[in-house]
């Protein structure tokens, strides 16, 4: 203790290093875990949002033009006495709305990405347009501001910024300027527009084309024609941008079929700033819709959290925007719609499920870590008790004792905590969650303050504790009441956990997240009751036999109080956490495999047409080539089509060769076997036996006949068996499996039934070869590999990140288990050494000495291991109903959590290895020389 570190900390180097290492590890885990969890959920959120349509990644602010017009106090006056919005006013509103929406967790894209639209109701084209067929064409006239940043000119010209001189067009198409008076006012308005290439191609438009549409009626006039003159053809810079996806008909005309006899083309034209006033004047009476669109920027905020974002977006949808100045009255007219909210809902459920799981680990490890720190503090206080007793006798107050101890622990823990925190930040870069520093700070406070607290308690004077009371508490009714209360509280907590955990929207409950701790409490209490009885029985047996080591070792074990339950509790928790983490990983991995089978159906699935073109079939040569690919063990070609019953109900018909299909299904997982014998067809004219899904079976009441639009005869069927699922249709639904022999072509001349899907099974399919065959021999076809689906599941940020956290939890649990073992050995080392020294004087040999140590230490470890094993077995059945592991697989199928042999066995094996290693150090040869030194110290 004469080293500088010893003088500064008052502790031996080993004790200081142990405390420092423990603090470093705990601070690292407490810092890294929340950061990793945040990074995982943020990455998953970004991925979820990115997968959503671009329109979902925006906030829409909309209002009827008429409301805005009536709210504004000024503006350009229109010809009908109404006020017209100017481009500057629109810009001002856009800017203010952007500033109002862009705060807190809501991050908008740069203002340059915002845009505003003013769209007219549908205006029917009065003349027939080429390419429209017999369907009428209805045009939306949509003003956009800014206009040109999302499009590029293909032909003609873009409208300029300055409105043209007011013009009118005569019925015969002559255009003349309006000079403000006279009968010219009664002629028709002319508006310059641009259209997309798709619209121009559909309706054979070109620069200079004119489309006459019917304008809206107004209070002052009946509907009058409005001429739209196409000045330019444009193309989108990014078709996926909200500028185009907000209203798809602007990009590409769509045929709207309301009924077999009511249908029309919906298309759109764009106008720029030059026609802003004209659009308002000519279409206002029909109801213009103003809309501002503000794209979100989720990826820009590294630490984005879903719940605060959801709360903020919800608040935006209910609050009135804060507009100021001249445009302030518009705030009352607008409706804010955060388009991301529907996508956030499912994500929040996923996040809550993951948080519930992670908090189980956090709380359990925190409890175990606290126990280890208390044990360490006790050890430090004991080791320094002689020195502190001197100080106390020399006049040190308890405060001075505590301060001296705290200084030592601070010198050991402070730098270690800083190193641990820095390491965690380096390993997990990115922002920390709000309150993320409380955990590491709490660890540091406990590490520094626990030893002084123990030391102060130990050195309090005078030493006149009434032992009678504590003895009664330990052995009498007091202990029984305390244990019963603890068990009752633990059981109550578990009941609450199960109830709350299965209810949605309950959030993460800290108390109920302590389920492993709550399970460990009764286990440890039972062990503490049973352990002495078993030990006593073993001791009796050892006393009857010859030899001293067993008797002495067991006698010492029986005398040791298991330091009441702390080490056993910590070991049980560490084992439970390790086993639980292993069980979850195993369950999720199994779930991933199951989900991959449910998504793909087979190891490789080849489709004749990716876009599911009706009638597409695969070339038989391609089928043969694919079946011959190395690694393929089973193959089944199927024809999947939509069949209709006589009552108009639709089912998916899967035409298969029963034998090959049954063989393939048997080679897959999760799908029920296909009893091929049930598909044996009878004599001609009889109903064909089919296998149906439960949905289809309910529809195919006796005597149904299936027909399809493909060139095959109708097939009378009867349901011979029910299957819950089948690989040829992974999505499930209403399906029937029809034997190929029952399907006959009615084409002239008849052609063999073609297959549009090929299922391949095999563990080592040459995916490159299969891909090449599809590319070269099946034009328009596609292939899906189950391995790709499985890979996407296992490498998904949510699963990958969560498993990283599990690995961290496992490492912490392992470290805590080792620490408990070593602390227990260290705490009893002095007394054990003195006892062994006395026994050595009496003639105890080296081998006998080792047996004494093993028999003294091992019973407690075995007892803790048994309790830990029992907790690990009980944990899944208790927590499984409250945990939803399917969020990792993305599948609707339940992921079953069960105590597997590997999950429970390896932590026990690891504990055994640690125990053996620790004991090996304790009983290492060469301790004889210490006998004299041990006995000289005395008591």
């Amino acid at each position: 203790m004469t080293s500088l570190l010893g003088r500064l900390t008052g502790m031996r180097l080993v004790a200081a290093a142990a405390l420092a290492l423990l603090t470093l590890g705990a601070v690292f885990a407490a810092t890294a875990a929340p950061r990793k969890a945040l990074a995982t959920t943020a990455q998953t959120l970004r991925q979820t949002v990115a997968a959503a349509p671009s329109l979902s990644q925006s906030i829409t602010v909309s209002a009827p033009w008429s409301s805005i017009e009536s709210s504004l106090n000024f503006g350009v006056s229109g010809s009908q006495g109404n006020k017209l919005l100017t481009g500057n006013q629109i810009s001002e509103i856009t800017t203010q709305l952007h500033g109002d929406l862009n705060h807190g967790p809501v991050h908008l894209a740069p203002a340059a990405a915002d845009w505003m639209s003013m769209t007219s109701p549908d205006a029917t084209a009065l003349s027939k347009l080429p390419g429209s067929g017999v369907a009428p064409v209805k045009f939306e006239v949509s003003y956009r501001q800014p206009f040109s940043q999302d499009l590029r000119l293909v032909a003609g010209r873009l409208p300029g910024p300055v409105p043209p001189a007011p013009r009118r067009v005569t019925p015969n198409g002559n255009v003349f300027p309006v000079n403000g008076a006279g009968p010219q006012l009664y002629f028709y308005p002319l508006i310059d527009v641009v259209v997309t290439s798709q619209t121009a191609a559909r309706f054979s438009l070109h620069p200079g084309s004119r489309i006459v549409v019917s304008g809206p009626e107004s209070a002052f006039s009946a509907s009058r024609p409005i001429t739209l003159e196409v000045t330019g053809i444009v193309a989108p810079r990014d078709p996926s941008a909200t500028f185009w996806t907000a209203d798809g008909t602007v990009l590409t005309p769509q045929l709207e079929v309301l009924s077999p006899t009511v249908y029309y083309w919906a298309a759109g034209v764009l106008v720029g700033a030059s026609e802003l006033a004209a659009v308002q004047q000519d279409f206002a009476s029909g109801g213009l819709a103003a809309q501002w669109l503000f794209p979100l920027s989720i990826g820009s905020s590294g630490g984005v959290q879903a719940q605060p974002l959801d709360d903020a977006l919800t608040r935006l949808s209910t609050q009135t925007p804060a507009l100021t100045g001249d445009v302030a009255p518009v705030a009352a007219d607008v409706t804010v719609t955060p388009n991301l909210l529907p996508a956030l809902g499912p994500f929040l459920a996923t996040e809550q499920a993951v948080d519930t799981l992670l908090w189980l680990l956090y709380v359990s490890l925190a409890a175990a870590c606290l126990v280890v720190f208390l044990l360490t503090a006790r050890m430090i206080a004991l080791r320094r008790s002689a020195e502190l007793a001197i100080r106390r006798a020399r006049g040190a107050s308890l405060r001075q004792i505590a301060a001296a101890t705290a200084l030592g622990t601070a010198l050991a823990c402070g730098p270690a905590a800083v190193i641990g925190a820095v390491l965690a930040v380096l390993v997990v870069p990115g922002p920390a969650p709000g309150g993320g520093w409380w955990g590491p700070a709490g660890v540091l406070v406990i590490a520094i303050c626990a030893p002084p607290a123990f030391a102060g308690w130990q050195q309090r004077l005078p030493r006149h504790r009434p032992r009678r009371r504590s003895a009664r508490l330990v052995t009498g009714w007091g202990r029984l009441v305390a244990e019963a209360t603890a068990i009752a509280a633990a059981v109550a907590g578990l009941v609450v956990f199960r109830q709350q955990g299965t209810q949605p929207g309950t959030g993460v409950n800290l108390y109920t997240s302590a389920a492993p701790v709550l399970i460990a409490i009764p286990a440890v209490i039972v062990v503490l009751r049973v352990y002495p009885l078993l030990l006593r029985a073993a001791l009796l047996g050892a006393a009857r036999r010859a030899g001293a080591p067993a008797f002495v070792g067991l006698a010492r074990a029986a005398r040791t109080r298991l330091t009441p339950a702390l080490p056993a509790f910590a070991l049980v928790l560490a084992l439970s956490v390790a086993a639980f983490a292993g069980m979850v990983r195993t369950a999720v991995s199994s779930g991933d495999v199951r989900a991959s089978w449910q998504a793909s159906g087979a190891d490789a699935t080849i489709s004749a047409s990716v876009v599911q073109t009706p009638g597409a079939v695969m070339d038989p040569a391609a089928l043969r080539a694919a079946e011959a690919v190395p690694g393929v063990t089973h193959a089944a070609a199927v024809w999947v089509d939509t069949w209709t019953t006589g009552f108009g109900q639709q089912v998916t018909g899967i035409v298969v060769d029963p034998a090959t299909y049954a063989a393939l299904v048997a080679a897959t997982q999760t799908y029920p076997h296909v009893p091929a014998g049930l598909l044996k067809t009878g004599p001609a004219g009889s109903a064909v036996p089919v296998l149906a899904s439960p949905l289809a079976a309910a529809e195919l009441i006796s005597g149904a006949t299936l027909t399809t639009q493909s060139a095959v005869d109708p097939v009378p069927v009867r349901v011979a068996g029910v299957l819950s699922g089948t690989p040829a249709l992974p999505a499930g639904g209403a399906f029937v499996i029809i034997p190929l022999s029952a399907v006959h072509s009615n084409a002239t001349p008849p052609v063999p039934v073609g297959f549009n899907k090929l299922l391949l099974a095999g563990a080592g399919i040459d995916t490159a070869r299969v891909t090449a065959i599809v590319r070269d021999m099946i034009p328009g076809g596609g292939v899906t590999f189950r391995s790709d689906i499985l890979n996407s599941l296992t490498t998904a940020p949510l699963q990958h990140g969560t498993f990283d956290l599990f690995a961290l939890a496992l490492a912490v649990a392992a470290g805590l288990g080792i620490a408990v073992m070593l602390l227990e050995l260290a705490l009893g080392a002095a007394e054990r050494e003195a006892t062994l020294a006395r026994l050595a004087v009496m003639g105890l040999g080296e081998g006998q000495r080792a047996r004494v140590v093993v028999l003294e230490v091992l019973p407690a470890v075995v007892a803790a291991a048994v309790a830990g094993w029992a907790c690990a077995l009980a944990l899944p059945s208790i927590v499984a109903p409250a945990i939803d592991l399917s969020v990792f697989t993305g599948s609707s199928a339940a992921v079953v959590l069960s105590p597997g042999a590997a999950s429970v066995g390896w932590p026990l094996a690891a504990l055994a290895v640690v125990a053996v290693a620790a004991l090996a150090i304790e009983i290492r040869p060469g301790q004889r020389g210490r006998v004299a030194a041990s006995l000289r110290v005395g008591e």
Binding site: M1, T2, E387, R391, L461, P462, R467
Partner: protein, 340 residues
């Protein structure tokens, strides 16, 4: 007349009782009055002190002796403020140790009493030098740097270990360590110095040096010293030796005269201690030699009180002895006849 006498007798008794209570130990530095300390060890009550009376005047150098388990260490711990009595009272330098608060007890340990243990490892912090160890109590009491340095130097000098100031305990001999320990105990100028077998681990020469340091502290610094010891050499060098037996003071040995060349004081007289209830402990060797057990007969003489064995019992013992002798003789005769 009779009633007046009874009242006057009652008044006299009352005055005597209150006067005795007020007078006991008045003016003494250490006063233990019917001190009791009971421990509970694994469910068994241990009466370490059973009504011990002790009075030590200021400036005394007194030895406490007694067999293991007699209560010496318990008494020392109570006087040091490290323990509290179960019953009775104990006052040291005017401090009532049974009624002190924790803060008062802390002040007491800092400034009134100094303590030395037998094991040197319990007296000194191994990672501090001798000077730093002496400085520690001064620092704990809040003394200034200059005062601490001065006091440390003085003490080490007085005790003859100034040359060890910069050494750590493992660099000093056992005797040097104990003398430094004495300096540590004297750092805050206590009124009382308690030493629990300070020479127990030392050889005779070193023990003599350590005891000399205690004598120096007593003589030159005026500290009252109470030494628990098994060492007869130490007992022979103090003027007053108090023997404790079964939790009470049993005898006191007072030595008179000057010390010889070896420091041993001559002419020791052993007294049995008469406690406040009038009880005294008769030396075991005396009682056993006279067969005194259970009860004795007292006879008041003009200048002494005679203590006689119980006559009836003695007669019975004698008769038993006679019967045993005659039986033995008869056996001898019968065996002789048998032989014949």
């Amino acid at each position: 007349m009779g009633d007046a006498m009874a009242v006057s007798e009652l008044d006299a008794l009352s005055s005597a009782a209150s006067a005795g209570h007020a007078d006991y130990g008045e003016g003494a530095l250490i006063v233990c009055d019917r001190l009791v300390r009971i421990y509970l060890a694994e469910g068994i009550e241990v009466q370490a002190l059973q009504g011990l009376d002790l009075v030590v005047s200021s400036g005394e150098l007194t030895a406490l002796v007694g067999a293991s388990g007699s209560g010496k260490s318990t008494l020392i711990n109570i006087l040091a403020g490290l323990d509290t009595p179960t019953a009775g009272s104990v006052r040291v330098a005017g401090h009532d140790l049974a009624a002190m608060s924790a803060r008062q007890r802390l002040g007491y340990r800092r400034s009134v009493v100094g303590f030395i243990w037998q094991q040197t490892a319990r007296n000194l912090l191994p990672y501090l030098t001798a000077a730093q160890n002496v400085d520690l109590p001064l620092r704990l009491a809040g003394a200034g740097r200059r005062a601490r340095r001065q006091r440390t130097g003085e003490l080490l000098d007085v005790l003859g270990v100034a040359y060890c100031a910069g050494r750590r305990p493992d660099q000093m001999s056992g005797g040097e360590q104990q003398r430094v320990a004495i300096a540590v105990a004297l750092a805050n100028s206590p009124r009382v110095l308690l030493a629990d077998e300070p020479t127990g681990e030392l050889d005779s020469v070193t023990a003599g040096a350590v005891f000399g340091a205690l004598q120096t502290a007593n003589a030159e610094l005026g500290v009252t010293v109470l030494v628990v010891t098994h060492d007869p050499a130490v007992s022979s060098m103090v003027r007053r030796v108090i023997a404790i037996r079964d939790g009470r003071t049993s005898t006191e040995t007072l030595r008179h005269g000057a010390a010889d060349g070896s420091g041993e004081l001559g002419h020791a007289v052993e007294y049995a201690v008469l406690d406040r209830a009038g009880r005294l402990q008769l030396p075991r060797e005396m009682t056993e030699s006279l067969g005194m057990r259970d009860r004795v007969r007292l006879e008041a003489e003009p200048d002494h009180i005679g203590v006689w064995p119980d006559q009836a019992r003695r007669a019975g013992v004698a008769a038993d002895a006679t019967a045993a002798d005659s039986g033995t003789a008869a056996d001898r005769e019968s065996s002789a006849d048998g032989d014949a």
